[in-house]
């Protein structure tokens, strides 16, 4: 071989960092404690690049690229927090808050919600966009869990964890555009689906859309950190 190094060096927010070839910008940034906001990304699941919160600027390109799926290149100069990016992130969060019915005070995830935390971090104090207030279902047919579509942000973490980790593929997306909705099986009630009751989807849900019926009030922290460990142990066999 030509002796090409497997290690790349690049600059993120004026900090020089090194990375293995094939790593994503997000991985390298987090290794170096540079924070890039994400919603659809979760360690241990495949990436879809859908929430667009992790967009970063790369010197020499006018296009914004999602850090979760863009792999590092030698000599890249990346900015993760320019005013242009922050403005887009705030607008995207606003779009999410206005899309369905996110009322923190009556949500089981109040205080543990990734959407809420992100809004605080990004300095989102109010929503300028008109609220859409759609009338959506709450499916409580499952004996242990409930899905409240009003709080769903369609990040598809539940879809991916069920298909990729649990291997059941109960969840999927139905409909298109603003009418997209998460369904279990072929749009049957969750309780009548082939659900294995593992509860992984509840743990990875960033908001209060999926929750455990046994939890009272807003005392419902979620623990998605088991995923990378589970994957590691599986690969180790």
């Amino acid at each position: 071989m030509s002796g090409e190094s497997d290690v790349k060096t690049l600059v993120i927010d004026e900090q020089e960092v090194s990375a293995r070839s094939g790593q994503t910008i997000l991985e390298v940034a987090r290794e170096n404690e540079i924070d890039i906001p994400t919603l659809c990304h979760l360690d241990g699941l495949s990436d879809v690049g859908a929430c667009r919160l992790c967009l970063v600027e790369i010197k020499g390109s006018n296009k914004l690229l999602p850090a979760c799926v863009t792999t590092v290149q030698e000599g890249m100069e990346i900015s993760t927090g320019t005013e242009r990016l922050r403005a887009h992130r705030r607008t995207i969060l606003e779009m999410l808050f206005a899309e369905r019915n996110h009322i923190c005070s009556v949500c089981v995830s109040n205080g543990h919600c990734e959407l809420q935390t992100l809004a605080q971090e990004q300095g989102l104090t109010h929503v300028r966009l008109p609220y859409r207030n759609p009338e959506l279902r709450v499916d409580a047919s499952h004996e242990r869990f409930t899905i409240d579509h009003n709080r769903c942000i369609l990040c598809t973490r539940c879809v991916r964890v069920c298909a990729e980790v649990e291997g059941a593929h109960i969840w999927d997306v139905m409909g298109r555009g603003i009418d997209s909705i998460i369904i279990s099986d072929l749009n049957q009630p969750w309780g009548e689906s082939a659900c294995t009751r593992c509860g992984k989807c509840v743990q990875v849900c960033p908001t209060g859309a999926l929750f455990d019926k046994s939890k009272i009030g807003s005392d419902h922290p979620k623990y998605p950190d088991f995923l990378p460990y589970l994957n590691l142990m599986r690969e180790a066999k």
Binding site: V48, A50, T91, M95, L129, P130, L154, G177, I178, S180
Partner: protein
């Protein structure tokens, strides 16, 4: 099949045609067919039988000026009859060889004179369901030439030399794309034809698939040889049943003639094509969504890279080109890259097919050299806006494009010039609007289209287009404020820059371009509660004090 055999077929068709004194070519494309072209053809056949004249009545694909249909062209005189119906049949046949039927002949010389036909050269001249008709007009000659005399690299070189750019809208250099797929490693590669034409007001690809299906297949076979693929898919929307049936016939005929299948023309090259039907999702025209749809999954786009050229259908290197791009391949191979390169403008070569629709005299299909002025397309070829009204704007590129106002009509049509004006080439739809169109309402229409066609995967496109639609609805109903306008502009910026695929990234273009050129109409709606074109229904009309 050899070149000699091909020439033999061509010769026998020509001999067969020479038996007739006249040809009556009846356009059976959708616009003509919907006005009774099939009855007209039957009546012509009957009239010919009764008259005893030696006349060939032929069904053909789209001739172009759809608004004048049903069309009949008499050859060799090249007389064109417009708005013909079954009642005219006897007269048309009776007048063969003497003066054309009075009142039926239409003079569209100006319409045809400025056009250059490459992609549409056979449309209106061959029966799309007869492979021999296609062969008689140099069909499959390019494929045989490539297979027997050229290396794959030589083919790619010729396409690169021609300067051909993707006709699906993006304008990516075709030769470069082919080269990338050819260089990608893989024992299995695919070529895909994108026939998921979904722009409102665009029907170029449909007409090519319906009027000259073999040309698309030949282009794909040449591409497959060049990149090293053995399998092809034509992705057509199910809303084009005629195109599907014509392509199915064409594939069957090509297989029968040994032009598709194993060891084509006794060479080691094998290639076959399958049709895949789209279920009407606009986003499936985006290449990664199209791949997902062919694989049988939900049609949603994926972030690129990896590009399909490296990892496409089932993870294999895949070449995706538009129908019109493939339709350009055979003539480029036959006539050489230089021939194509010499047509068109500096960075946009060759010709482009446009679908002219809207407030214009000659609606239909036109093919013009790149670099031609918009004014020439609209006023000379299109015959201008019908009397009593004035031209206001033309929308190119469908919902992903923008509108171009009257003062910019003297710009030559090219990928770069249109981009500079805030629009795009797109696949070739051209919607002409006159003073009866409200530009805010037009923007609202296109945003509504993008909103309903958004796949829902990424937030900016899914929620952003819906929010833009809400704000535009407010403005159109007279309840919008200047704050709404500011918010609308901010939304445009986020949707454009942050969306995942081309659909979202270009969705704000109609709003941005109307804001750029017709901002006063927005202001009129907001401040004066008035729609200058009188289109929008204002909820709260301002009372005009007498």
């Amino acid at each position: 099949m050899t070149i000699e055999e091909l020439e033999q077929i061509a010769k026998s068709v020509q001999q067969e045609n020479a038996k007739y004194d006249y040809e009556l070519n009846v356009c059976m494309d959708l616009a003509c067919a919907s006005q009774g072209a099939d009855k007209l053809k039957d009546a012509l056949v009957r009239a010919v039988e009764q008259s005893g004249k030696k006349v060939l009545v032929r069904r053909t694909g789209c001739m172009g000026p759809c608004s004048h249909g049903p069309l009949v062209r008499v050859d060799p005189e090249d007389t064109l009859y417009s708005k013909a119906n079954a009642a005219h049949a006897e007269k048309i046949v009776a007048q063969l060889g003497s003066e054309p039927v009075a009142g039926l002949q239409c003079d569209l010389n100006e319409h045809f004179d400025s056009q250059v036909r490459v992609v549409l050269e056979n449309a209106g001249h061959i029966d799309p369901e007869k492979i021999d008709d296609y062969i008689s007009r140099d069909g499959y000659k390019a494929l045989l030439l490539v297979l027997t005399e050229m290396t794959p690299n030589g083919v790619i070189h010729r396409i690169t030399e021609s300067g051909l750019r993707g006709r699906g809208g993006g304008g990516y250099p075709t030769g470069l794309k082919w080269g990338t797929v050819a260089k990608s490693h893989g024992d299995l590669k695919y070529v895909v034809c994108n026939g998921d034409e979904g722009d409102p007001g665009a029907f170029m690809d449909r007409s090519v698939m319906e009027g000259d299906p073999h040309r698309v297949i030949e282009g794909m076979a040449i591409a497959a040889y060049a990149v090293g693929a053995s399998k092809g898919f034509i992705y057509v929307r199910a809303e084009y049943p005629v195109a599907v049936s014509r392509l199915t016939t064409a594939i069957r005929e090509a297989r029968r003639r040994g032009l598709l299948g194993n060891n084509i023309c006794n060479t080691p090259f094998s290639f076959d094509v399958e049709i895949r039907l789209g279920a009407g999702a606009f986003v499936c025209g985006e290449e990664t969504a199209l791949i997902a749809s062919i694989e049988g999954r939900r049609g949603t786009p994926k972030p690129r890279p990896p590009y399909p050229a490296m990892s496409g259908l089932w993870g294999k290197p895949t070449l995706i080109n538009n129908v019109e791009t493939y339709a350009n391949i055979a003539p480029i191979v036959r006539n050489g890259g230089k021939w194509f390169f010499n047509m068109g403008s500096e960075r946009s070569k060759g010709t482009k097919v446009f679908a002219l629709t809207g407030k214009i005299a000659n609606t239909g299909l036109v093919e013009v050299p790149m670099g031609i002025k918009l004014r020439e397309i609209i006023e000379r070829i299109g015959g201008g806006v019908p009397k009593g009204h004035t031209f206001k704007a033309v929308q190119t590129g469908g919902p992903s494009g923008g509108c171009i106002p009257a003062e910019m009509l003297d710009v030559g049509v090219s990928y770069d010039a249109l981009l500079k004006m805030g629009s795009i080439m797109g696949s070739g739809g051209m919607i002409v609007m006159d003073d009866t169109s409200c530009m805010v309402n037009v923007a609202k229409f296109f945003i509504e289209f993008c909103m309903t066609e958004s796949c829902g995967k990424c937030i900016p496109c899914r929620a952003g287009t819906a929010q833009m639609h809400t704000l535009l609805t407010r403005i159109c109903s007279g309840t919008g404020t200047m704050d709404d306008l500011e918010l609308l502009e901010q939304l445009c910026s986020t949707v454009k820059e942050a969306s995942l695929c081309g659909l979202g990234q270009t969705a704000p273009n109609p709003v941005l371009s109307t804001l750029k050129y017709f901002r006063h109409e927005y202001i009129d709606h907001i401040l004066n509660k008035r729609c200058p074109a009188g289109v929008c229904n204002m909820e709260s009309q301002v009372e005009v004090m007498a």
